[in-house]
């Protein structure tokens, strides 16, 4: 399971303030904490700073990688911001995200073309948000094939089928889950990714729903998630679900987590 730690996002008040104050210590701590908790990528998002996004995104990547010996997930729709951040990034970054929205697709495709960059491919098009499994497959098919034609390796593509809230339509959960299953069976070797907290919008006790949905998605083949890795219950849940889904040889990760006291509760 590939975990992208989502906490360094300027839409969060504390992170926005830390960026504005150029508070390296605060950013380093959030990065280090997430990495220690098991994040494979540290997401960096400076999207709220219109005009200054490239400069701030670059600064975030530099600061994160002074303490974390691992890659960042560069979270921006702006090609200029992505390129500025990539210029200072060490190792192989993940780009979050390309989509089938025309402008986004056309400006981001050249950045990932022919590279080893990991790329999140979000199932969204100019026609709006996908609702059914078929809507998602139609978009995924175009995105994946477009990326393959530009020499992006299939194992570097992380399709995000886009979670919609089950409070507004009973079927939004299962349509997403079926899409995960169909994507991993249709495109051999591909990865999937999602930020799934949207599933619980409009309902009480959201963490409980998020965790349960995570287990269900992992059972269908989800192997990447953009989450808060400091959420111990969610992390324990992912470790258990991964073992139960047959993705943990000899249950070694599960046992390691047990010995590290990470199964908590």
């Amino acid at each position: 399971m590939i975990i992208v730690g989502e906490l360094i996002n300027a839409s969060r008040k504390t992170v926005k303030a830390a960026i504005e104050a150029k508070d390296e210590r605060a950013i380093k701590k959030v990065a280090q904490d997430q990495f220690d908790a098991g994040a494979n990528y540290i997401d960096a998002n400076a999207g709220v700073f219109v005009g200054q996004e490239p400069e701030y995104l670059k600064w975030l990547v530099e600061v994160v990688q002074t303490v974390v010996d691992g890659p960042c997930c560069i979270d921006s729709p702006d090609p200029k911001a992505i390129e500025t951040a990539l210029a200072v990034h060490k190792g192989t970054a993940m780009i979050n995200s390309i989509s089938l929205e025309k402008e986004r697709y056309e400006t981001l495709l050249p950045i990932v073309a022919g590279t080893d960059l990991k790329v999140v491919a979000l199932c969204m098009s100019d026609k709006g948000m996908p609702e059914t499994t078929d809507d998602r497959m139609t978009i995924a098919d175009k995105l994946v094939n477009g990326l393959l034609q530009k020499n992006v390796a299939i194992e570097n593509i992380y399709v995000d089928p886009l979670v919609q809230p089950v409070s507004t339509n009973n079927l939004f959960g299962v349509e997403f889950l079926s899409a995960i299953e169909k994507i991993v069976t249709t495109f051999k070797g591909i990865h999937t990714m999602c930020g799934l907290s949207n599933i619980s919008f409009g309902l009480p006790n959201r963490p409980f729903l998020n965790q349960t949905f995570m287990s269900m998605a992992i059972a269908k083949g989800l192997d990447g998630a953009i989450i808060n890795p400091l959420d111990k219950n969610m992390m324990a849940n992912i470790i258990a679900a991964t073992a139960l889904a047959g993705k943990d040889d000899f249950c070694m990760q599960y046992l390691q987590a047990f010995r590290d006291n990470r199964l908590g509760v």
Binding site: V48, V50, P77, S167
Partner: protein
Amino acid sequence: MADLASIKEAVITGKTKEISLLVQTALDAGADPQDIIDNYLIDAMKEVGARFEADKIFVPEMMIAARTMQNGLAVIEPLITGDDNKLEKLGTVVIGTVLGDLHDIGKNLVVLMLESSGFNVIDIGVNVPVDTFVAKAKELDADIVGISSLLTTGDANMKTTVATLKNGGLDEKVKIICGGAAVIEKRALEHWGADGYAKDAASASRVIRSLLSID
């Protein structure tokens, strides 16, 4: 004597099927159609909004209450949509998601809540250019323009849209309200110049009532 209290209760508790018979029975017993709408169906939705804002009920319950209200209204509507006897609306709201943003779930909830609260709502969709907001507001003589934004990257477009609407020849009486996960109240009101902010569908209905001085 018509059992009007049970109409209100049926809306609040989302009795989508029972509502039609309750309303029909009340009408048969001589209840005034406009009175049922104003003081029971719409009043029920005010209560639904209050319960939602207090976290007593949640999105699916709000949606089903709105649907119940509309089912009740459907029984009454044919009786009062004659030539000289139009269904009264509280006001006209033109609503859409800001340019560059395709998210519609939040906006759709606002539309549903406003419609079932007695407003005439025109949904102009997602990724709406500012010119379309202006043109539609003028064409439909809107009282309120609602702008939704989910993406934090949409701030610049929100600011432009609000400013253009404010300075774009719309009558001063037209109020601009912003909402959506990305919108910060202080920024909307102080920096963009919006007249109102609503954090969700229920508060949108409440804030718009207040902007239009409806009790």
